[in-house]
């Protein structure tokens, strides 16, 4: 049986090849799309016992400097550090020259972000130099920065330009995306602005993930009637709020994926139907030889599934190669691509769809073949 199915597949090599290729291409696109959505939705690197406190109105509002000390006194809070999104322009406005730049406090930054490692000597040097900055390893490599490098960042959100000197290069144990950031002294920014005493967000490290609800309530209640009411949420919820801003774009990408699946269904179903129709006579011969209806059905189905799975394997293989390439090539232009990974879920989905489409597209021709009237089939020409 299996040999027969294989023979059938290899009989019209060109047709099989073309079908496998179109299935492979479609599933390749699908796997990359799914991986892309996953990369966009990724909250990898967030820590369950880290809480972000920000102005309740929106991120474009900042908080008074004095809030930091008060947040430290909340129960279950082990450490507090301020981070302000500086934005700005480095070299030019092209997206490949964009990376996150934060005004931070060297004294407390690593208490809250313990996963970053920076050599002790570099940390000391950075703390000492008010116009110093530290960069992630990936970022420093991209621009070929060495310790002592001087750079200028033009302000856009803040009306000041920063003259900074590289004092240290930090690393993250497993996420390259976390290494594409820059931190500098918030005191430097404060002085340039005439000491307004403002902070964008406060990041809190709690003693345990279980303390999150209590700390969130405590922080929000603490400033409820102040001029700057706050919103507190886990790091993950904070990350997801950016995703929500994308709105129904995710739904639209999902619909594109669906349209792709439907189109390959038509492509393979078409080929299988053609293949089955060409063989009406042979099926009749098989039946005369004593093959039962079920066996004939199985034969056609096996052929269809084989095409689907072959196509899927090729498509997924291509996707694995392409995802690596896209991450390297596009990661710097579109941040979402930097986190692109050939996840087992995306690849598994593509394989399953390949097999499913094969099965589904073979169903009608297979049943048709089984129903063939032997006498009619034998009489039929070509």
């Amino acid at each position: 049986m299996i040999r027969l199915a294989w023979r059938n597949l290899t009989r019209n090599k060109l047709r099989t090849l073309l079908t496998v290729a179109s299935v492979a291409l479609a599933l390749f696109v699908l796997a990359v799309l799914v991986a892309l959505v996953q990369a966009i939705e990724s909250t990898e690197g967030t820590v369950a016992n880290r809480v972000v406190v920000r102005h309740a109105v929106s991120l474009t509002f900042d908080l008074p400097e004095a809030f930091g000390g008060r947040l430290t006194r909340l129960d279950h809070v082990d450490a507090v550090t301020p981070l302000s999104w500086f934005g700005g322009v480095y070299i030019d406005q092209r997206p490949e020259n964009f990376f996150p730049r934060f005004a931070s406090d060297p004294a407390t930054l690593f208490d809250v972000f313990g996963e970053y490692s920076l050599p002790e000597a570099e940390r000391e040097a950075w703390t000492q130099d008010r116009s110093g900055f530290i960069a992630g390893r990936a970022l420093a490599e991209k621009y070929d920065w060495a310790i002592g490098e001087r750079i200028t960042i033009q302000g856009d959100i803040y009306p000041v330009d920063l003259e900074l000197t590289l004092r240290g290069i930090f690393t993250h144990p497993d996420l390259e995306t976390q290494e594409r950031q820059l931190f500098f002294h918030r005191r430097y920014l404060e002085e340039s602005l005439g000491n307004p005493g403002r902070v964008g967000t406060y990041w809190l490290l709690l003693d345990a993930p279980e303390s999150v609800p209590a700390v969130v309530r405590g922080a929000e209640a603490m400033f409820e009637s102040s001029d700057a009411p706050v919103r507190a949420e886990t790091e993950e919820a904070f990350a997801l709020s950016f995703l929500e801003m994308l709105g129904n774009l995710r739904l639209l990408i999902g619909s594109i994926g669906l349209a792709i699946v439907i189109s390959i269904l038509f492509i393979t179903a078409n080929t299988m139907a053609m293949a089955a129709r060409d063989r009406t006579r042979e099926v009749a011969v098989l039946r005369t030889l004593g093959f039962r209806r079920g066996q004939v059905t199985g034969l056609v189905l096996a052929e269809a599934v084989a095409v689907g799975v072959f196509g899927a394997v090729c498509g997924v293989g291509l996707a694995v190669l392409a995802i690596g390439g896209l991450r390297e090539g596009m990661g710097e232009v579109f941040p979402a691509f930097a986190a692109l990974e050939a996840s087992p879920a995306a690849l598994g989905l593509a394989l399953a769809i390949g097999a499913g489409v094969g099965l589904l597209s073979g169903l009608a021709p297979a049943l048709g073949a089984a129903r063939i009237d032997i006498v009619d089939g034998l009489r039929r020409v070509g």
Partner: protein, 388 residues
């Protein structure tokens, strides 16, 4: 020449199922392409409808969007008094200083996004002739009243006519719904400059200024004067240019994605078309032989089969366009990350988008049909006639 062509086109209808399947697979590729392109086209249209060619927009030097920009009222008054600014009949400058604040609101589905709250003075509607209140009435300054863009009122909670909503530290009441010719303002909340300043504790400042000018030359001259004046650090640009820059930043990724998807999926559909045509040629060997025996030459056969494939592609394109038509007008919202606020737009299947969809389909048919057509023309007559 006529016979092979007619023969080929009629063959398409002879094998209905195969033709329909191939047409549908091409149609879905076209659908994907049109879907992504109409997304980009919709965003472009929303931005293109924003901005008036007679307006010069003034921002703080270095700011890339109104959200980031701010300067004090004294500066605003000084700029408004400059000679190039048009004036009303009673000699007041046609200059609108506006405050832009971004606040989190909930969409109807419960997800959240940042919405622009714009504090405006009496000239705001004068410099935007497109703006029209379609329900309710205009707000009255100092009474905690706001008007809401029509897109926003539909897609967000608590922003319908008559509803009360907390903005900043105070409660506001929606007294009117406005349209702005499909422009970006339809995704904004408008209130009095003083009220918005009050509730956000941002008094005596504006984010931007819109200056009305009488001609393009007057605008260029005013732009130069505003920027070279030593009293303030601001930049000026035509309002249309400001929105055009935001468009390109926000649509680039969709254009790249759309093209990439179309090319990749197009290859897949080419293979499908090639498959169909190869099968057709195989099955019609004797018929091709007959045509050749009747005296039709190889080029005629090649052309006829190529036309058949092109027609197959075109059919797929037409079906794809028809399938894509319901996409037109679907309203969608996303965040403009330059101004950090919600923009709403309608998916727009412009004629240009539909035509490029058809071209993709046609190209699919021709590229996929060329190798089989060559194969058909090459086959020797004797073999063809003898074959089954």
């Amino acid at each position: 020449m006529g016979v092979p062509i007619r023969y080929n086109l009629r063959s398409l209808f002879q094998r209905r199922t195969t033709t329909a399947m191939t047409v549908l697979s091409i149609a879905f590729v076209v659908l994907v392409f049109i879907g992504v392109s109409s997304l980009a086209a919709g965003i472009s249209e929303a931005f293109a409808a924003s901005g008036d060619p007679a307006n010069l927009l003034v921002l703080r030097d270095g700011a890339r969007s109104e959200t980031e920009s701010a300067f004090d009222l004294a500066t605003a008054r000084g700029i408004a008094a400059m000679p190039g600014v048009e004036r009303t009949a009673d000699d007041r400058p046609l200059a609108s200083g506006e405050m832009i604040v971004v606040q989190i609101f909930e969409r109807e589905d419960g997800s959240e996004s940042n919405v622009t709250v714009r504090g405006v003075g009496p000239m705001a509607q004068t410099v935007r002739p497109d703006l029209e209140i379609v329900e309710g009435r205009d707000f009255v300054s100092g009474t905690g009243e706001i008007i809401v863009g029509s897109d926003l009122a539909q897609r967000f909670r608590g922003l319908r006519l008559g509803e009360e909503v907390r903005i900043g530290l105070l409660d506001f009441r929606v007294v009117g719904i406005f349209e702005a010719g499909g422009g970006n303002a339809e995704a904004e909340i408008w209130g009095a400059l003083e009220d918005v300043g009050n509730t956000f504790r941002r008094e005596n400042a504006v984010s931007s200024m819109r200056l009305r000018t009488s001609s393009a030359a007057a605008m260029a001259e005013l732009e130069r004067q505003v920027e070279s004046d030593q009293r303030w650090r601001v930049v000026a640009q035509p309002e249309t240019q400001y929105y055009a820059e935001q468009t390109s930043a926000n649509t680039m990724q969709f254009r790249i994605l759309g093209t990439l998807l179309a090319v990749l999926m197009g290859f897949g559909a080419c293979f499908a078309a090639a498959n169909t045509m190869y099968a057709a040629i195989e099955r019609r060997g004797r018929e091709i032989g007959t045509l050749r025996a009747l005296g039709f030459r190889r080029p005629a056969i090649l052309l006829a089969f190529l036309l058949e494939a092109a027609f197959l592609g075109l059919l797929g394109g037409i079906v794809g366009c028809i399938l894509a038509l319901p996409l037109n007008g679907i309203s969608a919202g996303t965040t403009n990350f330059i101004s950090f606020s919600e923009i709403t737009f309608q998916l727009t299947t412009t004629p240009a988008v539909l035509i490029s969809g058809l071209l993709v389909a046609l190209a699919t048919g021709i590229v996929g049909g060329l190798p089989p057509a060559i194969a058909a023309a090459r086959r020797p007559i004797t073999g063809l006639l003898r074959g089954s």
